[in-house]
């Protein structure tokens, strides 16, 4: 079995390659079909692992040595354990559904072939990222998905804003990538290995506090930039310039969760630094709260979902931080399902409204698109964590409740709970504005084919039902998830008994409070007095604008300064000009001696000869 692991990223990679080399001959339709087949094949291989040996003990597939110099060695080794298995299942299967959805969604677009190339490449990159046993190989996948994110955000490159948004996303995440690289340097300098499975025992065996602190901060910045955590979240709302399917796959289900995944993988590293996990929890909860508050004031349907993604990722980090990584991973899975659903549905909505993203122009969609309405509603339920009948109730609320038990968990709990209220608020505000009320006259006719309906239906079912894998402790019903992951991630703190019941009740109340808030917000919005008029919230607490004002300008100014000041004046002017003019002047001076008088030549020749003699005579040898 293990020697077939390379097929998992190999299929999409092959698809991308075929597409790049022969795509022109295949034509866009067949490119699309080919591209969709590849993640399906990958997910079949993953399914074979689920059904076959499982991933315990971890499966290893060593391909070849990438680089080896002295004590530095990086093998291309793929590793699948239970955590990885979850991730590759999401990446391949959700990836496949989104490919399938794209067949109709993107038909006739001007960059179809390019789209499928990058989508396949992205799936391959994501699979490599998750299956990497080595930090550098992980970095390879990390950057590949970053590239695909860039290329797909600026997919509709003819609008300069889209290209700009793509660049913004790439640059912000690249800042994180660079710090991640520095963290890798630090770790290697200390432990002489980059293999995760060798590194983590070493970290516990030979702790180096200062270095580990620096390394974990650097790596965490990388994770935050990738996962759009405060204050690196600024790229995600703008990334909505890409097609909705891209937002579904990359900016909701998979790539942005890479940071969370990295934190789960390197939990041993963070745990070795005192106070680090607590900081992660607080920052995660803060991001969850902050982004949810921003989501409440957005008018672009996709920006609502983008802020929602940031917020949900915050919950995942919070889960990791409070020592419940298995719950974080659970929420990652749940979120992948419902957010992919919501994004794809919003893509359909946007098509129906003829590329209008503004939810204030929408309304009453439930009459003409009942299927869309019910699937969307399933996603909204999951996002708002409606008790019992939504998956997030079992994942997100579990994280919030677990944080209550942890020492110093008060702040995360409070932030998380208020975030949950806001979450339900913006989720239902979105739903009410789009689907309820009077039908908008902007609505156009649009028929979803099976290729679009099947993914939506599957994901809607998952958004409702997948939570039943893991009921709260003490409840009747299966408790598969946490115990299954316990060998990898340990058992998280879970509230049980009366305390657990009370916390669950509070969480449920928060959701209902949020639904009420959403209803209220939607009504005010209809009346034209909505929260979107509150610039502070709508602009995301002015953070994006502030950062854009603070950082790029000095950056470019430095470039101009170096060019104008140092290069043009100094290097080109002084150094080069000085050299040239110095030579020219001395040439003139010498040329004055070259007057054609042979006798003077004789004199200077003899003088030179004497000088040479003197030099030889006085040479200290």
């Amino acid at each position: 079995m293990t020697e077939w692991l390379f097929l998992i990223p190999g299929f999409p990679l092959l698809g991308a390659l075929i597409n790049a080399l022969f795509g022109e001959r295949l034509g866009p339709r067949w490119c699309g079909r080919l591209a969709a087949t590849m993640p399906l094949l990958s997910s079949l291989v993953v399914l074979a692992i689920w059904l076959g040996p499982g991933a315990e003990p971890a499966l290893l597939d060593r391909l070849w040595t990438w680089m080896a110099v002295g004590d530095f060695r990086v093998d291309l080794t793929l590793r699948v354990d239970d955590v990885t298995l979850v991730m590759i299942s999401i990446a391949s299967f959700v990836g496949f559904l989104i490919h399938l959805f794209s067949q109709q969604y993107l038909r006739g677009d001007y960059g179809e072939r390019r789209y499928y190339f990058y989508l396949n490449l992205f799936v391959a990159g994501m699979l490599i990222l998750t299956m990497a046993n080595n930090l550098l190989l992980l970095y390879l996948g990390w950057e590949t998905v970053g590239l695909c994110s860039y290329a797909l955000i600026s997919h509709w490159y003819r609008e300069p804003e889209n290209a700009w948004a793509g660049r913004k996303a790439f640059v912000v995440t690249r800042i994180g990538d660079t710090t991640l690289l520095l963290g890798i340097f630090l770790l290697f300098a200390q432990y002489h290995t980059l293999s995760i499975s060798t590194l983590l025992p070493l970290v516990t065996a030979q702790p180096a506090p200062a270095l580990l602190l620096a390394a974990s901060i650097l790596i965490l910045i990388g994770a935050y930039a990738k996962s759009a955590q405060f204050p690196f979240h600024i790229w995600l709302p703008d990334s909505m310039a890409g097609p909705s399917t891209v937002s579904a796959l990359i900016h909701a289900a998979t790539m942005v969760t890479a940071g969370v995944y990295l934190c789960i993988r390197l939990l041993g590293l963070f745990a070795a630094v005192p106070g680090m996990l607590e900081a992660i929890a607080v920052l995660g909860a803060w991001t969850a709260f902050f982004a949810a508050s921003c989501g409440l004031a957005q008018v672009d349907v996709k920006r609502v979902l983008a802020y929602s993604t940031i917020s949900q990722l915050g919950y995942m980090f919070m889960g990791v931080g409070i020592g419940a990584p298995s719950l974080g991973l659970f929420h990652l899975l749940v979120h992948a399902c419902f957010k992919a659903l919501l994004f794809m549905a919003s893509g359909a909505i946007i098509l129906i409204y003829a590329d209008d993203h503004d939810i204030r122009h929408m309304g009453g969609l439930k009459y003409r698109q009942p299927f869309l309405r019910w699937t969307f509603l399933a996603g909204v339920f999951a996002l708002a964590a409606v008790p019992l009948i939504s998956a997030a109730f079992y994942s997100k609320d579990a994280i919030i409740n677990a944080s209550f038990l942890v020492a110093g968990g008060g702040v995360p709990y409070a932030l998380g709970l208020s975030g949950a209220v806001l979450t339900a608020g913006y989720a239902f505000r979105l739903y009410f504005l789009v689907f309820e009320g009077k039908p908008s006259e902007l609505e156009g006719p649009y028929q979803m084919g099976w290729g679009m309906k099947i993914p939506l239906a599957l994901l809607a079912a998952a958004s409702i039902g997948i939570g039943w894998l893991q009921f709260p402790p003490g409840w009747p019903g299966p408790h598969l998830w946490v115990h299954w992951l316990a060998p990898e991630l340990g058992l998280p703190p879970r509230p049980i008994g009366l305390e657990g019941g009370l916390l669950t009740l509070v969480g449920a109340l928060a959701t209902f409070l949020g639904i009420a808030l959403g209803y209220w917000a939607a009504r005010r919005e209809r009346a034209g007095r909505g929260l979107s008029r509150w610039r502070f919230l709508a602009s995301g607490w002015w953070i994006d604008g502030t950062i854009l004002r603070l950082f790029p300008a000095p950056f470019y100014a430095l470039g101009r300064l170096l060019r104008g000041g140092v290069e043009n004046l100094g290097v080109q002017g002084l150094a080069q000009g000085g050299l040239r003019d110095g030579l020219r002047l001395s040439a003139y001076a010498l040329a004055r001696g070259e007057n054609g008088l042979a006798s003077r030549y004789a004199v200077s020749m003899i003088a030179g000869l004497l000088l040479l003699l003197l030099l030889i005579w006085s040479w200290p040898l």
Binding site: R114, T144, Y157, F185, F188, R563, V571
Partner: protein, 481 residues
Amino acid sequence: MIVSLLVLLPWGIALWLSLAQRSAVALTIAGALAEILLCIPLLAGDPSAVVAIHLPLLGALWQLQANPLADLFALTTALLLPVALAVQWRHDEYLHLARILAVLQGALMGTFFANNFLGFYIFYEIVALAAAWLILRSGKKDRRAALSFLLYTVTASLFLLLAVLPIYLNRGNSTGIYDFSWIQLSGSDLSGQIQLLLFLGMLAGLGVKLPLFPLHGWARGAYVQSAPAAALFLSGATVLAGVYGLVHWAVPLLPQGALLFSPAGIILAAIGTLYGAFLALSTSELRETVAYSSVSHMNLVALGIFALQEQAWSGALFLSIAHAVLAAGLFTVLAVLEARGLGSNWEGLGGLFRRMPRFGAWTLLFFLMALGLPGLGNFPGEFLTLLGSFRVLPLWAGIATLGMIVNLVVFLRAYERSMLGQINPRLPAQIADLAQREWWIFLLLGAASLYLGLGSQTLLSDFAQLLPVHSPLLIGGAHGH
């Protein structure tokens, strides 16, 4: 014997082209391919040395011997020449360019294989002259650029010669054998301070070719004003002479000096890396961006060399070979633009992707390579260089690492300005996408880049054997593990 042929064959071709001026295309291509074939037995290992023109007190001037690093660099150079010729295919300047390129290539082979310092120096000067000639006679035929290149290199290489003379005299006095051969010059017992001084002198001569940070003044003119094919060869192959000189001559001859200079060198090169990247950021045209990014990359190579550390050295050598592929790719991009009559000025570009999607895709590939995307050719070199030097001087290596961010902005912006967005109304209505020949060049270079990026070990394992030859320091573990 083969090594002599490697030098003489291109020179013979150049001579033939000057005299006969016939069948230039077939002959040059055949010659270029023959050079590649000649390189292959070298890689298999051909240690025989050719010794001729023996002069008393100086040693044999024509003393050519293969060594693993030289073989790799020679092969890289040999592979670049057909690319440069193919890029320039059937342009008016072809004959001219082919002739000078042949001279340049022969001289480069000479610098790689010369086992006698005077021989190396003479070849090195021929390289400088031929390169200046190339700038003067190709592209915009800019005299200032050619002059500036010539001034920089010739002035600087005087220092190189002056710095080696004391080593020669010192060795001659202590052994009684006055000879400029490598084996005779290495192992001098000069004191560290003097070695440092001499190392600086050699660095001036060799660093200017890289070009190292404060000595890079010629680069803009040379890369921007000459024809793309010429700039391709200059930035891809000619710089190798500088790298080779540092690795094969400067460091082994003056190990103590190199060690003393190491921290300053790392700082200098780190500054240079960032400096080049920042300059590439604010340019008025695409060619300038490419030129400065090349400067930035070569400073990174220098960083790796100065670190005197195993991984950094491997990385630097790897990067210098990868940089050849990168330069070929980027300048081919420029050549394609030029062949369609498009300038490289930003004002004349924009939205090209819509007209030339194939071209746009390949351009993106090479831009990605330039910004150090893992999986493509530049990354292993950059990574190893930075990793290795990080273990020596973490702060400055870390600062150099930030150059990756700048590089990203540089190339994404360049891509955005040239390829994406609205079609520039100044563009002609009809622009042909890549021709078959251009597509093949890109495909080969792209495949090379991917191979370097993913199969890096095939090259790196070669370095493992050759490193001890070139730096006794690395065995002693100057900055070892």
